[in-house]
Assembly symmetry: C2
Homo-oligomer: 376 residues x 2
C-alpha cells in the first residue's frame, strides 16, 4: 500500500489535530502506522473505525467530487504547515495534517507563499464586512492570496473582497469538501474553486464539529505569514485562530473599530495587550509582512517609477488596464502606436517590472506596479 | 510691589511658554524681574510693553470679570505644573506659567489631583462626540475631573459629558477669560464655572493666537495624570497636546475608531507606534491611572460587596439613586422602613463604604461603589 493511500486512510479515521499521530507517522511511516491501526485491539474505537475503511471507496469518493489528496511530500504541499510539527498544542490539538483534501484549480503551495489570513466574527457588522472586503480586495490586487474559513460574516467578506481582486482566495473548511457548510455558501465556494483552493483535513462525507473547527483554525494560522482579525466579540472563535498564529510565531494583526461595537472588544484587547499589531489598511498589512517591499513602494512613491519614462512609453503604460489584461494588438490601438512599437515598448516596461504577460499572452500591470494618476 | 502683582504684570507682558522667563524668575524673583523688564532698553519690545502696563488696571480688569490670579506659592496652585520646569521645549515653548487667571468656583489644586485630560478634533464625528461625552460622564461620575480646551468638537463633548456627571470640569483657554472663544461656547463656559474652573495664562482682553494655543496645550497635558485622545486627523492640534503629555511622562491614551474615518488616523498611529495606550472605556482609563483602584473594583466584582448584606440593608442600598442624592426621610419612604431604621442602615452602609453623605446631609452612592443589578 503506497504512502498516499495509507495517509488517506489514516486521515479518514484520525480526528484532525489529534496529538500523537505525528510521532506514529515519523516513527513507523504511514503504511506501518495504518497497518498498526488496523490490527489494534478489538475494544479500540480507532481500530474499529479503521477496519470499516474501504480504501478504494475513499479514493472514489475523493475523485467523484473532483478533489485531490495532498501529502507532505507533494511539491504543491504548503511548506508552512511543517511549522505545526514544533508548535505547542492549543486546546489539546496540534500537529501537521496527515494529508489534505484539496479542491479548486489553484496550487496551494504557490498561493500560500504570499498569503494573508483574515478571520473574524460570523456576526459581523456592516463596518467589519466593508473593511474586510476592501482590505482583502486591495491585498488581492497587490498579488496576495487571502485565506479564511467558510463562515458567514468576516470569512465571506474576505473571500468576496479577494475574488474582486486579481488573486484567488483559499477557504479552509472544517468538514468534507463534497458538501458546502454553510450550504448558502455553495456558490461562494464554487467561485473560490475557479481560481483558488478549498482545503480540508476531512474526507468527503464528514461534517464539521466544534473540535474540527478548532483544528481547522490551526491550518488557517499556519498556512499564511500573518493573520488579520477584523471583528470579534469578547467570546469568539476567531480568537482561537489568533492564539494559533501567536503560537506559530506568525504576525498577528487586528483592525480597530468603534469602541461602541461589541465586535471591537477582542481586536482592541489584543492591540492593547500587544498580542496584535494595529492595522488600518491593506498597506499596513503589506508593510508589516514585507517591510522591504513597503520601502520599495515608498521609494517609488517619492520617485515615481514612471517619472523617467519617455512620453511614448508612458502613454503605453497608461493604457494597461488597472484590472485584468489586454492583448498587445488592443494596447497598440489604445496607445495609438504600431504593433511593433507597442511590443518593443512592452518589452521595455517588462524590464522595468511595470507590466507582465499572463499565460494567454495578454498584458497586465505587474504586481506592485504603481498606476500613474490619470493625467488627462 | 508684592510678588503676586509683579507676576501679574509679567504675565501680562511675556507671551505664555516663552523660554528664559523661568530662569529670570528663579534668579531674581518676580519683583526684580519686573523691575528689570521695566528698565529694559528703549528698543526692547518687551520693555516697551512693560512700560505701558498699569498694574492697578490689571487688578481691576481681573476683579471686574470675577477672576482670581494664582501664583505658584498659592495653596490652590496645581502642583503638577511644576513638572513643566524640567520638561524639554516643544515648538520652542516651555516652562511653568508665571501665574494663572482662574475663573469659576472650583479649587484648581483639588480638581487637578484626580483629573484626566481629554482632547481631540474640532471637526469630530458623531461617533467621537458620543464616545468623548460618555467616557467623560463616566469619569466624572467616578469622581474624576475632565480637563480640556474650549473648542468645538471633542473639547465641548468632553466638558458636556463631565458636566452631566458628578464632578466639575476644567477648561484651559488660550485667551483672556473675559471673553468666550469661540463665542458660541459662552453658555458652556458659564456652566463649567458654576462648579469647575476656567484657566488661562493670559490677562482679560487678550485674544488667542496660534502660538498661544500651542502654549495652552502644555497646560492641558501638565495639569492631569494622563491625556486621552479621542479623534484626530493626520494633522491635528490635539497631536501637540499628546506630544506634551509624552514629554511630561504623562500617561497617553487614545480611543480607536472606524478605520474608515479620517479622524481615526492619529489615534491609530499613536497606538500602533506605542506612543499611546488603547483605551475603549472610562474603566480602561481608570485602570491605567490607578491600577490599585481597578484591582479593588475587580475584587469587588468577583465578591459583590452587597453579597453579605442582610435583606433590609440591601433594600435600603438599592433605593440610593445612581446619580444625585436623597435625604434619609425619602430613602426610608422608598425602602419602606422607619426613619431610625433607615439612619441605622445608612450608618452601616457608610462603614461598608457603599454610601456617603453630601454637604446638604443627603445620601449618595460612595465613589466606586458598585450598584447591584435591579433585582425585581
Amino acid at each position: 500500500m503506497e504512502e498516499r493511500l495509507a495517509r488517506m486512510c489514516l486521515a479518514a479515521v484520525v480526528e484532525p489535530g489529534r496529538p500523537g499521530v505525528a510521532q506514529l507517522l515519523a516513527e513507523f511511516g504511514a503504511e506501518a502506522a495504518w497497518q498498526a491501526m488496523l490490527t489494534g485491539a478489538e475494544s479500540s474505537p480507532l481500530a474499529q473505525r479503521a477496519r470499516r475503511v474501504v480504501p478504494q471507496a475513499l479514493i472514489d469518493a475523493t475523485a467523484a467530487v473532483g478533489l485531490r489528496f495532498l501529502i507532505p511530500s507533494d511539491p504543491n504541499w504548503p511548506n508552512r504547515l511543517s511549522d505545526l510539527a514544533d508548535c505547542e498544542p492549543v486546546n489539546d490539538l496540534s500537529g501537521v495534517p496527515i494529508g489534505l483534501w484539496v479542491g479548486g484549480r489553484g496550487d496551494p503551495a504557490e498561493l500560500c507563499h504570499k498569503a494573508v489570513s483574515m478571520v473574524g466574527s460570523r456576526a459581523s457588522t456592516a463596518y467589519g464586512d466593508t473593511v474586510a472586503a476592501e482590505m482583502a480586495a486591495e491585498l488581492s490586487e497587490g498579488g496576495r492570496t487571502v485565506i479564511s474559513g467558510g463562515a458567514y460574516g468576516i470569512d465571506a467578506a474576505a473571500h468576496r473582497g479577494c475574488l474582486a481582486g486579481r488573486s484567488p482566495s483559499i477557504a479552509v473548511l472544517a468538514g468534507g469538501l463534497d458538501e458546502a457548510y454553510p450550504s448558502g455558501h455553495r456558490p461562494l465556494f464554487e467561485r473560490i474553486a475557479e481560481r483558488g483552493v478549498l482545503i480540508s483535513e476531512l474526507p468527503p462525507g464528514e461534517h464539521p464539529t466544534r473540535v474540527r473547527f478548532l483544528a481547522r483554525n490551526r491550518l488557517i494560522a499556519a498556512l499564511s505569514a500573518g493573520t488579520v482579525l477584523v471583528e470579534a466579540a469578547a467570546r469568539s472563535g476567531a480568537r482561537n485562530t489568533v492564539t494559533w498564529a501567536n503560537e506559530l510565531s506568525r504576525l498577528v494583526m487586528a483592525v480597530p473599530g468603534p469602541v461602541t461595537s461589541a465586535t471591537s472588544v477582542t481586536p482592541h484587547r489584543l492591540i492593547r495587550d500587544a498580542e496584535a499589531v494595529l492595522v488600518s489598511s491593506a498597506a499596513d498589512i503589506v508593510e508589516l509582512l514585507d517591510p522591504m517591499a513597503a520601502q520599495r513602494r515608498w521609494d517609488s512613491r517619492d520617485h515615481r517609477v514612471t517619472d523617467g519614462l519617455d512620453p511614448t512609453l508612458l502613454r503605453l503604460f497608461e493604457v494597461i488596464p488597472g484590472r485584468g489584461s489586454l492583448p498587445a494588438s488592443e494596447l497598440a490601438l489604445r496607445a495609438g502606436c504600431s504593433l511593433p512599437a507597442c511590443l518593443a515598448g512592452l518589452e521595455e516596461l517588462t524590464q522595468l517590472q511595470l507590466v507582465t504577460q499572463d499565460q494567454s499572452g495578454a498584458w497586465r500591470l505587474a504586481t506592485g506596479a504603481t498606476r500613474p494618476r490619470a493625467s488627462g
